[in-house]
């Protein structure tokens, strides 16, 4: 009685192995299709560039102020951010590329832009120099690659960013902040529909009478502008910088026109507020009084419109989505490989 069952089991396991192998072929085909589509879209971008050579200098409405921000960071010579930017600018980065450059997204100060100099100074002052110079990594692998330790827990100064700094005669002084995107608690609410900047759908503050306080401008997290490549698909969960990095840095920091209006709205302020005439509330109950400070490092200011067509940006976004989809299929392939391993182990156990 047991023999026919044993044979049936073997046949069934063989069928399962075949089915999983077919699945793997299917997933590999899907990956190949995506690769072809990505390549085709990249070729179309290259064609655009070759017919519009002068058109990319002002991509995304960038201004010379981005270079100013970079100069400001480079002047912080003993900071990790300054050293990282110097290494990037010198293309000293064969080692940089292989170590962590794919994981490092940039420095906080050059990952956002604002509409005017006043906002730039305000937001930069609110965050403080240490945060403005923070290095942003996608994953914890990037964080680990920046600094390594020897057996006794002391910093290994010949590896990571310390080692690369030494190679250009620079030494990092003191501590430096590194932000790991995948470990941040991200915003879970909705987004403003059809907004190209993917701003967060945060409800306006309301006074007890239901009205929005006078002078309320916006939330800081929504007032900044991001480059299109930083809007989505930066993390494994598909998020961009606004709902991860900047939501963590600013939370629901409110912006008001005047200090007086900001103070009237105090009951509605939970995560701090700024006023365009220099008022600053760090968070509920903590007021930053005194004179405004001129910051060594500030967010760049946008000037002028982008001269890149919307279709170019859409194509870039499509490429990003397809690349992300490809990463997801790689996960499917891995799961299927685990299933095959398990079925084969059962098969070998039975034969």
């Amino acid at each position: 009685m047991s023999k026919p069952n044993f044979q049936d089991n073997l046949v069934s396991l063989e069928d399962k192995i075949r089915q999983h192998e077919d699945n793997l072929k299917f997933l590999t085909n899907q990956t190949n299709q995506l690769d072809e589509s990505i390549l085709d879209l990249q070729v179309s971008l290259v064609k655009y560039h070759s017919t519009n050579e002068a058109g990319t200098e002002n991509k995304n409405g960038a201004s010379h102020n981005e270079e100013e921000t970079m100069e400001q960071i480079l002047r912080q010579e003993k900071s990790a951010a300054g050293i990282l930017c110097q290494l990037n600018s010198q293309h000293a980065s064969q080692a940089l590329n292989s170590a962590f450059s794919k994981d490092v997204l940039g420095i906080v100060a050059n990952l956002a832009r604002v509409d005017d100099d006043n906002l730039s100074r305000l937001l930069s002052e609110y965050l403080g120099l240490e945060t403005m110079l923070a290095i942003v990594c996608r994953t914890y692998e990037g964080v680990k690659a920046l600094e390594k330790y020897d057996g006794e827990g002391t910093i290994n100064s010949s590896s990571g960013l310390h080692g690369l700094g030494s190679s250009i005669g620079k030494k990092i002084k003191g501590r430096f902040v590194v932000i790991c995107l995948e470990d941040l608690r991200h915003y879970v609410g909705g987004f403003i529909a059809d907004d190209p900047q993917k701003k967060l759908a945060l409800p306006k503050p309301r006074l007890p009478n239901g009205e929005c306080p006078d002078g309320f401008v916006d939330y800081a997290v929504n007032i900044i502008s991001l480059e299109s490549r930083n809007l989505t698909c930066l993390t494994g969960t598909g998020h961009g910088l606004r709902e991860t990095l900047f939501y963590n840095l600013f939370s629901r920091l409110q912006i008001y026109k005047t200090r007086t209006e900001m103070l009237v709205a105090l009951p509605c302020i939970h995560d701090g507020a700024l006023s365009l005439d220099g008022g600053m509330i760090k968070k509920s109950g903590i007021f930053a009084l005194g004179s405004r400070k001129d910051m060594e490092v500030k967010f760049p200011v946008i000037t002028g419109e982008s001269d890149v067509p919307a279709s170019y940006i859409k194509t870039e976004n499509t490429i990003r989505m397809l690349k992300w989809e490809r990463t997801c299929i790689a996960g499917d392939i891995r799961r299927e490989e685990e299933l095959i391993k398990q079925v084969k182990a059962n098969f070998q156990g039975q034969t």
């Binding site: 609410g189 529909a193 598909g238 989505m321 997801c328």
Partner: protein
């Protein structure tokens, strides 16, 4: 014999009403199971048809996914007390502690539980001061067991079809089976 899929509709891949939707590319639609990229710019007019997520391929991938998730055993020895401020934070800690992915449906549910606190009076109050961590973890595992053992891959595929960013809730954690 597999039953036929009960639905066969034209669905926009990108929905502006969806929380997780991207407003990236309004021009990508699913049309009878094939995603078509339409370009208004002549320079980009040579795009081939891009089949990103057809019904059939989503059903197949959902079936593979469900079969894999079904085989991961629910941990039985759970002595931990996990402090948590949010449901998604608890989910993340559980994944790290046990080295297991949570099901797509569980991850979606945890996000919904966090979303339902949005703008409530206690929105920022750590959840472990409201619900005991042991009870919370046990609840997550019970829900996970339901999703791993009883979900239909057709149901999952249908949800994936309406959410182009569904992979945000598919964990890249691969325990040995």
């Amino acid at each position: 014999m597999k039953r036929t899929v009960p639905w066969n509709e034209e669905v926009d891949v990108i929905s502006s009403d969806s929380d997780e939707s991207s407003s990236l590319d309004k021009e990508v639609e699913i049309n009878n199971g094939r995603a078509v990229k339409q370009s208004t710019d002549d320079m980009m007019a040579d795009h081939p048809t891009i089949e990103i997520t057809s019904e059939g391929s989503l059903i197949r991938r959902a079936e593979m996914y469900q079969e894999y998730m079904k085989r991961i055993p629910i941990p039985t020895r759970r002595g931990s007390i996990i402090p948590f401020s949010t449901w998604m934070g608890l989910g993340k800690s559980i994944k790290q502690l046990y080295g297991q992915p949570l099901h797509y449906l569980t991850n979606v549910l945890l996000k919904q539980w966090d979303q339902l606190r949005f703008n409530s009076e206690d929105e920022h109050r750590p959840l472990d001061t409201i619900i005991h961590p042991c009870k919370a973890e046990a609840t997550v595992w019970l829900i996970e067991e339901v999703h791993r053992c009883t979900s239909s891959h057709y149901h999952i595929a249908k949800l994936w079809l309406s959410d182009p960013m569904h992979h945000a809730f598919v964990d890249s954690i691969f325990p040995q089976l």
